[in-house]
């Protein structure tokens, strides 16, 4: 079982990325499970994913990084026992701090993970404002990633993309960086993210 954790602020493009990756994996006969945690009383992302036939599990009634870390581990155990997925994609709420979520994962004692990767999606249209007013959250989302995806590159100005890359490098020099837009060929993306999918 491979685990992919997709972090990033609200509205940064996580769901778009998760759907693309899941579809790519499903087309290659992989069994994919998506774990979604949304802030708010009605989950929208899980409804959308179900509408397009994705296998979705929802972490309800709280934030994955505040109160639902234990639920996450329990759900992983259930998934492992009942569904045996090849790939689990975790999409936390954009208000979640990945540090708290990732620190819960060592409590998972099911089938050993073949790999675990964290991607952070960074919105260049808002990064300047967000890094100023939501500093701890945004920096944590960047710092815990192996790959930072700069999203919405088809909408952002070159200087906004450049600033986003600069922020990512400043807070996590070791992370790989990739510009991402809706029509980014999936092969390119997957080569950076999950070689085992190909």
């Amino acid at each position: 079982m491979h685990l992919l954790f997709v972090a990033g602020f609200l509205g940064s493009g996580k769901t778009t990325l998760v759907i693309k990756l899941a579809q790519f994996a499903v087309e290659r006969d992989q069994k994919v499970a998506i774990l979604v945690n949304e802030i708010g009383e009605i989950g929208i992302d899980n409804q959308l994913m179900r509408q397009i036939d994705m296998n979705v599990w929802e972490l309800l009634n709280g934030c994955i990084c505040c109160t639902l870390s234990a639920d996450l581990v329990t759900t992983l155990h259930q998934l492992d026992a009942d569904y045996s997925p090849d790939l689990v994609i975790i999409e936390p709420s954009g208000a979640a701090d990945p540090r708290s979520v990732l620190s819960a994962l060592p409590y998972y004692k099911g089938t050993p993970l073949e790999s675990m990767q964290t991607i952070s999606v960074l919105d260049p249209l808002r990064v300047e404002m967000l890094i100023a007013v939501m500093t701890p959250l945004i920096t944590s989302q960047i710092q815990h990633a192996e790959l930072v995806l700069i999203s919405k590159c088809d909408q952002a100005k070159p200087e906004e993309i450049s600033f986003a890359r600069q922020v990512a490098q400043e807070h996590n020099p070791a992370a790989a960086l990739l510009n991402f837009e809706l029509d980014t060929p999936l092969d390119v993306l997957v080569k950076e993210i999950a070689l085992w999918l190909i």
Binding site: L10, Q47, M134
Partner: protein
Amino acid sequence: MADLTLEPYAVVQRWDLPEAAGHWEVILGNYLQSLAQRCSAAGQCVIGHIKALALLPNKSYLRISVVAPHIPASIEGEVPSDCRVLELTLNVLVYGLERTVIERITYETSHEVAEQWKGVVNQKEIKQAGQHSHQSKHQDPKGEKK
């Protein structure tokens, strides 16, 4: 600005607009954009994400997303050309505004839009199982920063 609190607001709305056929994407895109603008005007806040979804026949959908008052809505999917009634699930995630304020803005804005299009919008009651506040600095119930 660092202690902005997030009080999520969600609602299901049933839009009945007799003259909306062929215009839903524009109408609802502008509606969410107006929500972002009015929230921003209502006080010091940060728009997290205002997003809406309408599930449509044959596995299709309309998904609308707004992340800032000055950035146009992102719209995905298409509404059938003869559609005049649509059920929309709306989540408004704005840091710094009380839920009651967001609720009022949503109610007023949606009714104005419906009136412009000579139609009506009704809100469905939602079972509020998971209402909670969320702080941008992530404090646990004891108030200790994580």
